[in-house]
């Protein structure tokens, strides 16, 4: 697992993926920070983390999805991975952790904005901490979904597009749920409620407000674990097809 992890992480920097992601993240997050925090004369960063950075994270994770398995399959380097005495779970975890490290590195760019707020006002350290924690947990879930999508295609563009589409659909679950709530009878209300809960981003709300909700933590960890398991199964199944 460690070999795969190291190779992935070094690979991000070797082929400039890491620098591109840092640049995208820095540019977009700085833009959102200026518009929605700095120019609003507020030290509250909940809106930045809880709304606008979602779009940046979707872009970053979708680009990461291109590399996970699709590129390996396309370049036939997967033949090396699967014919060595490494378990598939080790390969999946190695790639996942490398993706997480890069994602966390990207999100740490936001610390710059904390320092900027500190220069002009008083940052709410507690809320900032919960926002960072929520962002890491959200990323853990998002990257596992990206890994899963990537394991199903050998086309990196499809992997990126599929991952972005999955996140956008999940985001829209709330809208569909609200629509259904006004249409379905009372006994079917569990349906829109359940649908709304599928929205990964919806679970972030409490983190934005400075709370660490246990249900959201469990939800994100469960999503991450489930999709890691599913990814390993997809890769294993591919050998049998």
């Amino acid at each position: 697992m460690m070999s795969v992890f190291k190779r992935e992480l070094v690979g991000y920097f070797k082929n400039a993926t890491a620098y591109v992601l840092f640049a995208i993240y820095a540019f977009l997050s700085a833009m959102f920070f200026c518009y929605f925090v700095f120019l609003e004369n507020t030290s509250f960063m909940g809106n930045l983390f809880g709304v606008w950075l979602f779009f940046v994270e979707i872009i970053v994770v979708s680009i990461l999805a291109m590399r996970f398995f699709s590129e390996e399959k396309k370049n036939r380097t997967d033949q090396l991975l699967y014919t060595t005495p490494v378990k598939i779970s080790g390969i999946v975890l190695g790639k996942y952790l490398a993706g997480m490290v890069l994602y966390i590195a990207c999100t740490l760019i936001n610390l710059v904005y904390v320092f900027i707020i500190d220069m002009f006002g008083t940052p709410d350290v507690g809320t900032i901490f919960t926002n960072f924690l929520g962002t890491f947990l959200l990323g853990a879930a998002m990257i596992s979904i990206a890994l899963f999508v990537s394991s199903m295609t050998e086309n990196p563009i499809v992997a990126a597009g599929g991952t972005a589409a999955a996140f956008i659909l999940l985001m829209m679950a709330d809208i569909v749920a609200n629509f259904l709530a006004s249409k379905v009878p009372q006994w079917l209300m569990w349906l829109p409620r359940g649908l709304a809960n599928l929205n990964l981003f919806h679970w972030f709300d409490s983190f934005s407000g400075g709370i660490i909700p246990l249900t959201a933590v469990v939800f994100y960890i469960s999503v991450a674990a489930s999709f890691l398991f599913l990814t390993a199964r997809v890769l294993e199944r591919r050998r049998w097809r």
């Binding site: 460690m2 070999s3 795969v4 190291k6 190779r7 070094v10 690979g11 070797k14 082929n15 370049n75 036939r76 380097t77 997967d78 033949q79 090396l80 991975l81 699967y82 014919t83 060595t84 005495p85 490494v86 378990k87 050998r239 049998w240 097809r241």
Partner: protein, 350 residues
Amino acid sequence: MIEVTGLTKRYGKKTVVNNLTFTVRRGEIIGFLGPNGAGKSTTMNMLTGYTAPTVGSIRINGYNLLDAPEKAKAAIGYLPEIPPLYMDMTVNEYLNFVFGLKKCEFPRKEHLNEICEVVRISHVRHRMIRNLSKGYRQRVGFAQALINDPQILILDEPTVGLDPKEIVEIRTLIRKLGQTRTVILSSHVLSEIQSTCERVMIINEGILVADALTEDLARSAAANSRYIVRIAAPEDQVVPVLSAIPGMLKVEIQGVMEAGTVDVLVEAEKDVDIRRALFEECAKRGWYILVITPVGVSLEDIFLQLVEQTSSASADGPLTLGGKDDKDSEEKPAPAEEDTENEEKEDDAQ
């Protein structure tokens, strides 16, 4: 060392590999021969654990590849048709990565130095893989396959796309590696198998159609003795006169290559040395034999013959010669299924 029993791979309704059964012993260099789409790469992928068989079992050093994949894979070094290289790494980084991936327990630096010496890539170790020529990439692929010091080396078409000089170098390397290891080499280049391997398995449409020592296979197929003869004689008289020689099966004019002579292909029965009778007959008529060249049967002829046989009719089982492996001859594969148009799927699978 390798025991393959009833190995079958189906993609949907298409059978790409059909009931392969064979044993490979320690120290053998085996050529796995077949036309494109015959199922060679799929078989190799199954032998290395990259894909799983639909039916059948593979045992490597006594370990079942499905039950104990880590132990079985630890004994294998695999070089696929396209070497699995990361273009964004240097050779050194790549080999270090593979060293860790294969969980090698040798002293890292010394071991990698040794491998690089064997495949002669020491001078390119600090270069990016994407900047290497195809031949060097292939060598790096070899190094990757050798890193865990495998007892079994599986090479899938290792010389495809290389220039003639590189081909010679890679073949020499294979022979060298084969001195201490079991090597399975797949190829559709017949001369490569003939020059490198002691035993050949021919596969067509997923079926094992021959399993024999290379020289036995060539000898057995040389059913009749054939010669090209250049005779200074009247062209119109040559065929009737030579055809009348006892034991002669066929006389065929090949053309006139030299003024006043004619080139003739003569084919006689296997046990008849037609040369003496031919000489006497020509001498009697005052004809001069200027050139006499034996026409050998190459592996290519055998290959085409076997492939044609299996393509046109269902195969009864592999042609097993030379007594290399009695077990193999007893375990003949099942007849071909009707639906064996598997080339496209085979390509996909690769």
